[in-house]
Amino acid sequence: MYEAWGIKLGLDKPLYIQYLTWLRDVMRADFGESLYHNREPYDLIKERLPATVSLAAIAFCWAILVGVPLGVLSAVKRGTFVDYFARGFALLGQAMPVFWVALMSILIFSVELGWLPTSRKSGLDSYIMPALCLGWLPAAALLRITRGSMLEILDGEFIKLARAKGVSPIGVIWKHAFRNALIAPVTMAAIIIASFLTGTVVIEAVFAWPGLGGLSIDAIKNNDFPMMSAIILMFGVFYLAANMLVDLLYMVLDPRVRVE
């Protein structure tokens, strides 16, 4: 029985042959069959993908909508209360372990106050805590990098020229400075998408979220190799696609790259 399975899965052949067979099958979009679920990994991924993507999309939106404007504000109002608040927000986000924040928010908002559901995907309100926890760290990173590049650019000669020319303060900040400062946060966005791959695994473990993170942990716990290789391959492709998208975005944002 044991040996029969070994032969069926090709485990009796040398490693490189196993790898080449796997590669051949993947080229034909055949990932084998999940050993645990007895189904094709493709179907399982398709089933679980929406939960993860919707969660990651909300987290990404809130990271950008909070991180970038707050970073700009913090650079413009340097040394004021707004700046200190923004930097405190970033420091907390970068130092608190995500799983701990998730647990503590469950304790405070679900157990003590009873405002939000503790876990599992149900209505829209079940998205609030997982998305906030998932997005905090990226928001902090975006804030810091936006603030840094804004500060550098606000120092530039062309900003002084624009001010001297009589451009309104808002125009100087958003039209002249922000467009130039945007390049660093856009690079960061690719890293953020990559960080969601690991972030969702942790968040889904805490909130019992029915997404890819849970699927990958199950696959690993059950030694489900076909499932695991399919997930890792998908994450890798996803990451490369995100990087490529960013390279293309550069060309839109920065005319200097286009000339090269």
Binding site: L91, Q94, F99, L103, M104, L107, T198, N223
Partner: protein, 297 residues
């Protein structure tokens, strides 16, 4: 012009302002946390009031001393197996220091050597080294770590090796850029004309130049490393359950969050405080010694 603003103020206000100035200029609290951590880690067996692995069912779920029902015998209370939280937190500091120090040292040395040779020699060496760095960047670290743990089982050494593999690339990239800059300096040409070998030039003439950058990268990385270790331990993919690591302790407390919240809360606060101080120290060192690095690190 004579500064008259201080004359009008009472003495204690001046003293306060002075200390506030020092406070802003130097990272005093983070340094304090850092030294406390190292001190506690070294003297853990002396400082810990009880055995971190021993507990009894009778002393289960005792709340911390400041809550109702807490006793002075268990300052941070006890966990679900009746083990003393304070002792476990103290021994956990040991794990943090051990992991951070060994990974930063090994990863730093390896990454620096690779980075120096890649930057100085250029060509094929550079190409290969940088492609490996890119490859590491594209790997979902958490999934790789989980897979490795499933295949080989859990242990402290394995965890440290994994973290080293995934932390040297940062050093290599920054050191390479710095070596490229140094390579163009006249004293490197002079050394080459004098007949120094490549190895001698790299270790004798480039190494001192990149040393500062390495220190800064190291201090910026420590916080992240501690977070990664805690996350892996929390997911059950890092350190084995028997080790009193802070991440493992939070995972232990997850099931008791409604009845005994301190089991998860206290080790989490420890991770938070330590990572926060390391991040502060790293930022401070970067701004103080090498503001050029702002963009890259």
């Amino acid at each position: 012009m004579i500064n008259t603003s201080n004359i009008l103020k009472p003495n204690y206000v001046v003293a306060l302002e002075k200390s506030w100035y020092l406070f802003r200029k130097y990272p005093i609290i983070p340094l304090g946390v850092f030294f406390l951590l190292v001190f506690v880690a070294i003297f853990a067996p002396i400082l810990a009031p009880l055995d971190p692995a021993q507990g009894s069912i009778r002393t289960r779920h005792i709340p911390p001393v400041w809550l109702e029902g807490g006793t002075a015998a268990h300052f941070f209370g006890t966990d679900s197996l009746g083990r003393d939280m304070l002792s476990r937190v103290i021994y956990g500091a040991r794990i943090v220091v051990m992991v951070a120090v060994s990974v930063i040292f090994a990863g730093g040395i390896f990454g620096t050597i690779i980075g120096m040779f890649a930057g100085y020699l250029g060509g094929l060496v550079d190409e290969i080294a940088m492609r490996i760095v890119d490859l590491l960047l594209a790997m979902p670290f958490l999934l790789v770590a989980l897979t490795v743990v499933i295949v080989f089982g859990q242990s402290l050494t394995q965890m440290i090796i994994l973290l080293i593999i995934f932390s040297w690339d940062n050093f290599a990239r920054v050191v390479r850029a710095e070596s490229l800059r140094i390579k163009g300096d006249a004293y490197i040409d002079a050394a080459r004309i004098a007949g120094a070998s490549d190895i001698r030039i790299v270790f004798r003439h480039i190494l001192p130049g990149v040393f500062g950058v390495v220190l800064i990268v190291a201090s910026l990385r420590v916080g992240q490393l501690i977070l990664i270790e805690a996350t892996l331990s929390f997911l059950g993919a890092g350190l084995p359950k028997s080790v009193p690591a802070w991440g493992v302790m939070v995972a232990d407390g997850q099931g008791w969050i409604t009845t005994a919240w301190w089991i998860a809360a206290i080790p989490g606060i420890m991770i938070f405080a330590v990572v926060m101080s390391f991040n502060f120290l790293g930022d401070w060192m970067r701004d103080y010694f090498d503001p050029r690095l702002r963009q890259s690190a």
